[in-house]
């Protein structure tokens, strides 16, 4: 006999960037909410510190690939292999507990990508069912409640913003200064990227003491980095309406005879299966796992997976790819660049974000100079692997190299998708996500063009040697970004969700992570995910729960 818990107003599955804002908004609106996370509820001040081996090599925060494997293949005909694709921490806080924390806003153009470009062969470009101006108020809410630092006015191509940032950026690092020098020589508008960390004297009054430079992929033991686990989760808990069930694995969303979701079945920390009913089910497991849970939740009404009438659940996946160029500098004439310092990025640009067809590709993305890392894993492409040559390379270049990275905006393709692996199961006995992906020709062209541009910036900054690292013939998931697997749109035949993240065919099912994004955008997705979740949760709290529904009217697009 399955145990049953008392019904609640809403369940939220996945307590990362998507689940956090929804938990806050719904519980503050007075609804009883239970939030599930498959992973533990770690305590930053007790569990995190600057231990490179633990966080970078021994995967303390990353999912254990033996317990939560994923498989990848490049097309329908190739064999899938187990690979830790897009490893986002599986715990309360999710990706916000390890991320470097780039928090740039999306651009006006991101929401109308298809209107601007038309069809692209082999890709499935689409507009979003809402526009930048609909999200702007929520972007501001997140910046001011979660805590983002930046320099408003420095990014010349940014869309309208209703408020500046609540915190100034960190000072530049030595390699950051080089980046500005190189950029300025070439006339590239560069600036401190918005980041999810605060600096001293921020307007939120939050202490910001972490200047250890143990940052990307590390947990932050202090409150310097904004994380869902230290902001929205505690705020939701303080309402008395929210409960966290950590180490609790949701294996199915249940559907009733009327085709509405009735709640979820989960496995509790002791392995007991329990049913939790709710009026509304909110999914925010990350685009890969949200799609997987929908595919796992098949029923008579939805034999191909929950809300999957269109057959699109899992399809059009986008992952970004983090690629870069590295420059080596001459230690005899340069000051040390200290590539191990900083809170990962130290200057970036959206100068190449908008389409310029002279480049041979459409779209673009954000670039930034970033730490090369601490000593074990310092990035040095082609580093000799052993012997005197390795030792000399470490000694000569650890402090005299820098890199300029790029968030590659991959084009959505229906064949790039997430489905259930027929052979591989996770530690809970459930089929794992299988990722099928192959870059589009536009992705390859964009990679080549932008990384060559990054090489130019390095050369302008004085690099003696430069090395490009391009996108290969498969995505590796190394950005830990996931989008687009459960598309939003206005047409139920061409999308799964509407403009509120609400499933077209299951009115009380909402997917509020990046799964809904029709295109990848060229910015890191976290800020957009959080603002999107807030907007969807606002609709749930103020419209859906009140028994109403609403459709957003989209004005025609004025092409400039």
């Amino acid at each position: 006999m399955k145990r049953k818990m008392d019904p609640v107003d809403a369940v939220i599955v996945g307590l990362g960037a998507g689940g956090g804002p929804a938990a806050k908004v719904l519980s503050e609106a007075g609804y009883k909410v239970v939030g599930f996370d498959k992973g533990p509820w770690l305590r930053p001040e007790e569990h995190y510190s600057g231990d490179e081996l633990k966080f970078q090599n021994r995967s303390y925060l990353w999912p254990d690939v033996n317990l939560m494997p994923r498989t990848v293949r490049s097309d329908e005909n190739s064999e899938a292999r187990i690979f830790n694709f897009s490893p986002v921490p599986s715990n309360v806080g999710g990706g916000t507990s390890h991320m470097a924390g780039w928090m740039p806003r999306p651009r006006v153009s991101d929401f109308i990508f298809h209107s601007l470009h038309g069809d692209l062969e082999g890709a499935s470009l689409a507009d979003w069912p809402y526009r930048y101006e609909h999200l702007e108020p929520y972007l501001t809410k997140v910046e001011w409640s979660y805590g983002i630092s930046g320099l408003a006015g420095a990014d010349r191509g940014e869309g309208f913003r209703s408020k500046p940032y609540p915190s100034g950026p960190l000072p530049p690092t030595q390699f950051g200064k080089k980046f500005y020098e190189g950029s300025n020589k070439l006339g590239i508008n560069s600036f401190p990227l918005p980041m999810s960390h605060l600096t001293e004297d921020n307007a939120l009054g939050r202490p910001a003491v972490n200047r250890t430079s143990f940052w990307n992929q590390y947990g932050d033991p202090t409150l310097t980095r904004s994380s869902v686990a230290t902001t929205y989760i505690p705020e939701a808990l303080s309402t008395g309406n929210f409960e966290v069930r950590a180490d609790s694995y949701v294996k199915e969303v249940k559907v009733g005879r009327d085709g509405k979701a009735t709640g979820v079945i989960y496995i509790d920390p002791d392995g007991v299966e329990i049913e939790q009913e709710a009026r509304v089910v909110v999914l925010s497991l990350g685009a890969i796992e949200s799609a997987r849970l929908m595919l796992l939740s098949s029923s008579n009404r939805f034999p191909d997976g929950l809300a999957n009438d269109s057959g699109l659940v899992g399809k059009n996946a986008t992952f970004h790819e983090y690629i870069f160029a590295v420059g080596l500098f001459d230690k005899d004439i340069e000051d040390p660049l200290n590539g191990w310092t900083g809170n990962y990025q130290s200057g970036g640009s959206t100068h190449f974000y908008e389409t310029d067809e002279n480049r041979g590709h459409i779209g673009g993305g954000i670039i930034a100079t970033t730490q090369i890392g601490q000593a074990i894993n310092a990035i040095l492409p082609g580093r000799p692997v052993w012997g005197q040559a390795m030792k000399d390379a470490d000694r000569d270049y650890f402090n005299y190299s820098m890199k300029i990275g790029f968030i590659l905006q991959d084009m959505p393709q229906e064949t790039n998708r997430v489905d259930l692996d027929p052979n591989v199961k996770d530690a809970w006995g459930m089929p794992v996500a299988r990722i099928t992906n192959k870059p589009h020709a536009n992705d390859i062209a964009m990679s080549k063009w932008q990384i060559d541009k990054n090489v130019e910036i390095l050369q302008a900054a004085g690099a003696t040697k430069t090395t490009p690292v391009y996108l290969g013939d498969e995505f590796t998931g190394n950005a830990c970004h996931q989008q687009s697997t459960v598309r939003m749109g206005t047409d139920p035949a061409k999308s799964v969700l509407n403009e509120w993240g609400q499933a077209h065919s299951v009115e009380n099912l909402f997917v509020v992570d990046g799964a809904g994004f029709p295109t990848a955008m060229g910015v890191n997705p976290t800020l957009t995910i959080m603002a999107h979740s807030w907007r969807c949760a606002d609709y749930i709290a103020n419209t859906y729960m009140k028994g109403r529904s609403e459709r957003l009217a989209l004005p025609p697009i004025k092409k400039s």
Partner: protein
């Protein structure tokens, strides 16, 4: 089930000067130490031998007791449940990889007429490592050549690697990891490359350890970002740039 959030801390510390072997036999210890010394050799700066990389590797291979240091370095986390199960299975594979790897090093050394890898000359040891790696000994980084690479997953776990690649990775780890894990004795790896690391892991938790001095101290955003003017961001923001 004990949640990962509640793993106990075993108050154990590793003495880098220890010669006590928790996993290796005497011969395996000598062999791996000799190989590590060719991978990160000693010159005017210390190498793997002085940094006690061998202690680091031996403790890691001994089981799952030395997998994760407690955040503050006061001991090591005691894994439980599924995590412990998966870690134990990986450890068993790793032990096998090293046992077989040492035999392979000896076999190849004997083919080159040395009594064993550990007793071979450095030249012969290098030849053996070339054979095991399948590549000639790495040459210095060239500033004139031009190479192209393709992206890969960040993070460097030691899964699904050959013995040679595993050993090279573990030598780097033992040379550069926080000294709490038994290697990088007296931070000699960090000192060699110029990484000014924390005195202890605990110092990274509360602001005691800071790298602020290594940032640019004097700057103005108006200089770094041409076209940007202070005040554009309005009075509600902090005061960026006035360092």
């Amino acid at each position: 089930m004990v949640s990962k959030a509640d793993w106990e801390i075993a108050p154990i510390r590793i003495d880098p000067d220890s010669t006590e072997k928790l996993f290796f036999t005497d011969h395996e210890w000598d062999t791996v130490e000799a190989a590590a010394a060719r991978i990160m050799p000693t010159d005017h700066d210390p190498g793997a031998r002085e940094a006690r990389v061998i202690v680091f590797i031996d403790r890691y291979l001994s089981g799952i007791d030395y997998l994760y240091a407690a955040a503050d370095g006061s001991g090591f986390l005691q894994l439980s449940g599924k995590d412990a199960h998966a870690a134990r299975a990986r450890n068993a594979n790793m032990q096998r990889l090293y046992r077989e790897g040492v035999r392979e090093l000896d076999r190849k050394a004997r083919e080159l007429r040395a009594p064993s890898f550990a007793e071979a000359s450095e030249q012969v040891q290098d030849q053996v490592l070339e054979q095991v790696s399948g590549l000639s000994k790495p040459v210095p980084v060239s500033l004139t050549s031009r190479e192209v690479y393709y992206s890969r997953l960040q993070g460097n776990t030691d899964e699904d690697k050959s013995f040679f690649d595993t050993l090279c990775l573990h030598v780097r780890q033992g040379f550069y990891a926080d000294p709490v894990y038994g290697g990088n004795k007296d931070q000699m790896g960090w000192k060699m490359v110029g990484f000014v690391g924390p005195k202890s892991l605990k110092d990274t938790m509360d602001g005691t350890y800071s790298t602020a001095e290594f940032f640019v101290q004097e700057y103005d955003w108006e200089d770094l970002v041409p076209g940007f003017k202070h005040g554009q961001e309005s009075e509600t923001a902090g005061s960026p740039g006035d360092a």
